[in-house]
Subunit: 158 residues, 2 copies
């Protein structure tokens, strides 16, 4: 039974770890950067532009033997709020994580105002999250500029 | 026979396209950026920190229905010269591509000299590739600084 399923998967099942599914394909590399997966030493598999009835094109990430704290995983809510996060043990889903949007976003999102001090001085970015007309936005603590969450640029780690 | 193989793969086989295997795990995201895969609309699957007898930890990329020109693929030789590139048709390897190091590297590698004009003005970077003591290096056309190819920073596309 399980073998039949595995054969059809583009990215194979993991024994233990975390699976992030239903990421909009155009947000995959933002999620990768938010979770610092470019530096991760665990086995990580990704697939993107996979067929999805829900999203059109989706991406998936499977990280072996790694589990995330709420603070880490909630950052994803900014760019991919509908991501389904499953915790896997012995090839079984043992927990479905629920994302909640953090009230403050500190240090990893870029302010879209080119004149903002955070784009010119070594000042950590800081935003409050606000919902505006059904869209999540970031309100800059320094310049008050509103940035659309789904278009936000993720700052590369130093 | 094929099914047995597929079941064991972390990233499943593709019917048609290009497979890049034996990428050193720490160079995966450089290869992704060099090939602009973050913007690619094709189905792409990746695995990293996979076991490799040859490299310790390797990464693999499979891009469905896409084939690369020599100029594109040769850029990889800078950061991952031992990458094995297979062209796949109907699940079979129909061609093994051989990488050759380009003599000039224009526009996608960053000069490691903080004072280089290319780090301050909108001037496209330009290097000659040179081999020095068995290591590939980039010789900056503007400031003459030598940058180790395997440590080079890949400039994000605008």
């Amino acid at each position: 039974m399980m073998e039949t399923t595995v054969k059809k998967l583009k990215v194979s099942a993991i024994e233990n770890g975390t699976v992030l599914d239903h990421i909009p394909a155009n947000q995959l590399f933002k999620v990768i950067n938010i979770l610092n997966l470019t530096d991760c030493k665990n086995q990580v598999t990704f697939g993107t532009n996979l067929e999805s009835k829900l999203l059109g094109k989706k991406a998936i990430i499977k990280i072996a033997d790694r589990y995330f704290a709420d603070e880490e995983i909630n950052k994803i809510a900014l760019v991919a709020p509908l991501t389904k996060i499953n915790v896997i043990k012995n090839f079984e889903v043992v927990e479905k994580r629920v994302l909640s949007v953090p009230s403050e976003i500190i240090g990893f999102a870029k302010c879209s105002n080119p004149k903002c001090i955070t784009n010119h001085q070594p000042v950590q970015t800081r935003f409050a999250t606000v919902e505006d007309d059904g869209h999540l936005k970031l309100h800059c603590h320094f310049c008050e500029k509103m940035t659309d969450a789904e278009k936000v640029i993720i700052l590369a780690k130093n």
